[in-house]
């Protein structure tokens, strides 16, 4: 049995939940077991986790789960995993998933691997999984030496496909410990896909010269349905919020498409973005190190190139 912690937000299952469930069901298929999805809290669209591979969808509703507390959430997931005799527990590699991963590992006396980025080839007694390290500058295989394995799944590892039918959601009751922390406020930028989940990212650096020029970046992001990001100096000088800073000391991302505009491509920046599937670099300096990491490059002035690119994409989208 594989148990997937399906993350929800604002009463809906998150994209990471579809990915984790789909990944879990493919893993389960390797040795003929089934995949169970567990939600803490309610989501109106939870049934569709069935279509993405969950044989069963369980939900725990409790006043003590209304806001996130790593210790409380972990205890509930570990309890259900133990009751169901789960051999593998899968969490998303999100900020909450990462908070719970180590705690659940300890509670289940299980080996833990974070940031798994590939479907295992086989399910043997000791699971072997792949992950990236050195912020994407290297890869490794890691063997779990315990009976139970706890892993987190890196975003955009697998494209979830709806292959089956929805299933009915069953509520279960589990003792939920009283959380010892209290969430006072949650502030999220609305209307945009969070950076770690984004499939297209438009990112800009110091080449933009001044925060008032950010509009051309936003225009490009808008036509692409992309999320915006920035290099560290841009966040440090307050041009952009710091949760948009990507790189070794920022967020590591792996979108399908990363467009880097006026960013030199310092090794610490590349570390967070070089796992992107396709990289486009726009820079006026042909010697900019970023071109070595790029699939497509444009040597030119970003103030001329970016609006042209935006127009060209508009043309494609309306064709």
């Amino acid at each position: 049995m594989i148990l997937v912690y399906a993350e929800t937000q604002d009463g809906k299952v998150k994209k990471s939940a579809l990915e984790s469930v789909y990944f879990g069901s493919k893993m389960a298929a390797l040795n003929g077991t089934s995949c169970l999805a567990l939600m803490l809290g309610k989501a109106d669209d939870a049934g569709r986790l069935g279509a993405y591979g969950a044989g069963e969808v369980l939900q725990v509703e409790d006043a003590n789960l209304i806001s996130f507390d790593a210790l409380t959430y972990s205890k509930v997931v570990a309890k259900v995993a133990a009751d169901k005799n789960a051999k593998v527990v899968i969490l998303p590699d999100s900020s909450n998933g990462k908070s719970m991963l180590g705690i659940i590992g300890v509670l289940l006396k299980a080996g833990v691997v974070s940031g798994v980025n590939k479907l295992p080839e086989a399910m043997s007694d000791h699971l072997v999984v792949d992950r990236a390290l050195f912020s994407g500058k290297a890869f490794a295989k890691c063997r779990i030496d315990s009976e139970v394995a706890v892993i987190s799944l890196s975003g955009n590892t697998i494209k979830p496909v709806s292959e089956g039918a929805d299933v009915a959601v069953s509520s279960i009751s589990v003792e939920v410990p009283v959380p010892s922390t209290k969430v006072l406020a949650t502030n999220r930028s609305v209307g945009t896909v969070p950076l770690p989940e984004a499939e297209v990212v438009v990112s800009a650096g110091r080449g933009l010269k001044d925060p008032s020029n950010w509009g051309i970046i936003e225009d490009l992001a808008d036509v692409l349905g992309a999320t915006t990001a920035c290099s560290r100096p841009v966040a440090d000088s307050g041009w952009r919020p710091h949760h948009e800073h990507v790189g070794q000391t920022g967020i590591a991302i792996r979108p399908n498409l990363y467009i880097a505009i006026g960013i030199s491509g310092a090794i610490q920046h590349l570390a967070g973005v070089n796992s992107s599937k396709v990289i486009v670099v726009i820079n006026k300096d042909p010697e900019a190190p970023f071109f070595k990491a790029a699939d497509y490059g444009v040597v030119g002035d970003l103030f001329e190139v970016v609006p042209k690119l935006t127009e060209a994409i508009k043309k494609l989208k309306s064709a």
């Binding site: 900020s95 705690i103 500058k137 063997r143 969430v183 497509y296």
Partner: protein, 246 residues
């Protein structure tokens, strides 16, 4: 307030990443090691600031061999009061967490600080594991912390935003960017670090439960395809038809 900061050692950010023995081990030849930036810049400095605000002590702990003492001395030079080194090969997050939790259990710290992750293995596991073993609250990715009466208000990074959390001690926290401003050790700090206590602790038996079996580096990228800056239709065509990215 009695504070503990877990510090780790990592290759510096520009180090060449290579593996030896047929991809079985990291090749440390010619690599300079530093204190993990999240531990040094954010976790340690915020602990020192808190001590300056409310009084108390800041201890640091490191799991590793004697060769890592230079990293520990740097933490003392930045301002920690004393240090512990658990004499063990830090081969897994679980064994590191077990060692640190065992030490903390007998000392009773109000807050245990870790970095959000090490910049080499990017595990992001040790903090949560310590919290799990000690059965204490865990707040990950903390980018701000202020005192509020006898409680702490911690801001943590979440996807696309942040969350404000109220917590009482004892708890475990992992530090991300923003929690504090980097401090450079001054001459007086460096001199006084030499005489600050560094206690070596014998390791307790611990399990690792997960083992790296092989490492590899990504294949080199093929050369960049340059597109004429006046022909963005061509770039869009390539992204649409060739790369299938839009």
């Amino acid at each position: 307030m009695k504070l503990l900061v877990a510090i780790s050692q990592t290759p510096e950010t520009t180090a060449r990443i290579a593996f030896k023995d047929d991809g079985k081990a990291f090749d440390a030849a010619g690599v300079n090691f530093i204190m993990n930036p999240y531990d040094e810049w954010y976790a340690l400095v915020r602990a020192l600031e808190l001590k300056e605000e409310v009084g108390g002590t800041v201890s640091v702990i490191h799991c590793g061999p004697a060769a890592h003492d230079v990293t520990i001395r740097k933490a003392l030079a930045i301002g920690a009061d004393d240090a512990y080194r658990v004499d063990i090969d830090p081969d897994s997050a679980y064994s590191v967490a077990q060692q640190i939790a065992a030490h903390a259990k007998s000392e009773g710290y109000a807050i245990i600080f870790t970095g959000k992750e090490t910049i080499d293995y990017n595990g992001a596991l040790v903090g949560g594991m310590i919290a799990g073993i000690l059965d204490q609250p865990f707040i990950s990715h903390a980018s701000k912390m202020v005192t509020s009466g006898d409680k702490m208000i911690v801001t943590r990074d979440i996807e696309g935003g942040e969350e404000e959390i109220e917590v009482s001690t004892p708890f475990v926290l992992s530090a991300s960017k923003g929690l504090a401003e980097q401090r450079i050790p001054n001459m007086r700090g460096i001199m006084s670090a030499k005489s600050k206590p560094l206690t070596v602790i014998e390791a307790i038996p611990s399990a690792s439960l997960a083992t790296y079996t092989s490492f590899s580096v990504p294949p080199p990228k093929s050369a960049v395809k340059l597109v004429d800056p006046s022909d963005m239709d061509e770039l869009v065509r390539l992204l649409h038809e060739e790369a299938k990215a839009i």
